[in-house]
Amino acid sequence: MILRGLWKLTWIEIKIFLREPLGAFGTIGFPVLVFLAWGRVASRRLAPSSLAASSFIRVDLPVFASLLIAVSAVLSLVTIISIYREGGILKRLRATPLRPQTILTAQVLVKLTLTAATLALMILAGKRYYPAGVHVRLFSFTMALLISTWSILSIGFLIASIVPTARFAQPIGAMILYPMIAVSGLFVPVESLPPGLHAVARVLPLTYAVPLLQGIWNGDAWLAHLGDVAALIVIFVVCAALSAKVFRWE
């Protein structure tokens, strides 16, 4: 019974999401466009054979674009939750036998589906930057990205609890989420950050998502990244417990 409601709600939410052209484009199109634009610039400016270019295009760019996918999905979650709360939609759903967890799980499933679909689109669009020889374990990478997104989504629920109105959801969410990419270790090693930022970075999920994604992309075994996965799970559990305390339904 609960499962039937969960699948139905998830499926309807996916359809509703795709019916809103701007939202769908922003969340799916933006990371793909960034990926294509950067890929193009990088492959022109840098000599194709240079080590810098190949390392950037081969590893950092896909990881960066993947993080954008995850963050866009989380931002979209924050926005939707706040709109649903303000419009009384969450309250209306709660006044049914649906468990609150089921309502939120459906939203998480929608965002994970969205993440996987965007990743697939990005890989299709970016094929030409990768000669046939480059071999990435796509299934493992997709799993790594989904675990990362799932962990970051728990922060999304925390943000959704603090935004006062739906109008502020997008800007506040962006102000919190995008800087996380900056301190994630993708551009500057986490160890070289100032002590304050370093401490902040240590508790952010992106800091563990970056080495995980880079490693899996490079062909590392999952075993080598158990620590990162564990950290992502711990962050999820802590944030989920926190948001269970502070989450507002109306």
Partner: protein, 305 residues
């Protein structure tokens, strides 16, 4: 009739504001029970405590024999709820909403297409929620409240913001729910709605219930005044009317005469007086007090203020 809702001594505060205080009431099976009062009187809070959406600070509530807080999922499986100012996802289609709701209940849902047809939504089944009119949205919310064939239906400010025609159509729907043996608990700040729809009403103000009874009995109890207005050419009538025992005042305004008094017999006595004295009247009407007058009497102000 066995009671389906029992509320006793319920109190609910938000910070330092007391929303509901010492509220007690009972609703019997098969009746339309109305909670009436101005905006902010505590109607919605009371209703949401009964539905299990809020937990009262004090007092006990039993609905269909269940504790609405501890057994909320069991309860919600058996009741239907329409919330005040609720929305659905902007781009959800009418049939999708009904289909989703139907999947949430243990009990086999009633035929969704038939329900949509009853509520006049069949040709809107593929429309997005955001493109429905106010009346259509309300009818969809009624459909969602009825999809699980509930024993008890809650309707919060059902017709607020609707035009008179849609309002009447929805009143007919609510009577139809009762006629199928269900119990209806509704809130309204429209006295006309309460008078036409409810078998019994509770008047609530500042979070406290002032009185509970059928609209007729509330009027009899609190507003026994009767008024008869008539038009006649006879110049001598005023004195004859003043001789009737229960008449309090006779006001003459040229040919129009207004007689104020108390008790159900007043009208009969005025008619007797007219026929005994062979007084010819060209107009005769009685003006009866209504719930609006009861509210004014009990609270000292109109419900609209």
């Amino acid at each position: 009739m066995r009671p389906v809702i029992r509320v006793s001594g319920v109190r609910k505060t938000y910070g330092r504001t007391v929303a509901v205080d010492e509220v007690s009431l009972e609703v019997s099976e098969g009746e339309i029970f109305g909670l009436i009062g101005p905006n902010g009187a505590g109607k919605t809070t009371t209703m949401e405590c009964i539905e299990g959406l809020r937990r009262p600070d004090r007092g006990t509530i039993s609905v269909l024999g269940l504790d609405p807080h501890r057994e909320v999922y069991k309860l919600q499986d058996r009741i239907g709820v329409q919330l005040q100012q609720a929305q659905l996802q902007k781009r959800i289609k009418v049939w999708e909403a009904v289909d989703l709701w139907a999947s949430l209940y243990q009990k086999r849902a009633i035929d969704a297409e038939h329900l949509l047809q009853q509520l006049g939504l069949t040709d809107k089944r593929n429309a997005w929620f955001m493109n429905l009119s106010g009346g259509q949205k309300q009818r969809l919310f009624i459909a969602l409240a009825l999809i699980n064939d509930p024993e008890l239906v809650f309707l919060d400010e059902l017709t607020t913001g609707l035009d008179p025609q849609s309002r009447r159509a929805i009143w007919d729907l609510v009577r139809g729910i009762r006629d199928r043996g269900k119990t209806v608990f509704l809130t309204t700040h429209l006295m006309e709605e309460a008078e036409r729809l409810c078998d019994r009403v509770a008047i609530i103000e500042h979070g406290r219930i002032i009185d509970i009874d059928s609209p007729d009995r509330l009027v009899d109890r609190h507003c026994p005044e009767r008024t008869v207005a008539l038009t006649t050419e006879d110049p001598m009538v005023a004195e004859r009317f003043r001789a009737i025992p229960r008449v309090d005042a006779v006001i003459c305004n040229e040919k129009r005469i207004t007689i104020r008094g108390r008790g159900d017999d007043l009208v009969t006595e005025v008619i007797d007086c007219l026929s005994e004295n062979r007084i010819r009247v060209t107009d005769f009407r009685t003006i009866l007090p209504n719930l609006e007058d009861v509210f004014l009497k009990l609270t000292g102000h109109s419900i609209r203020e």
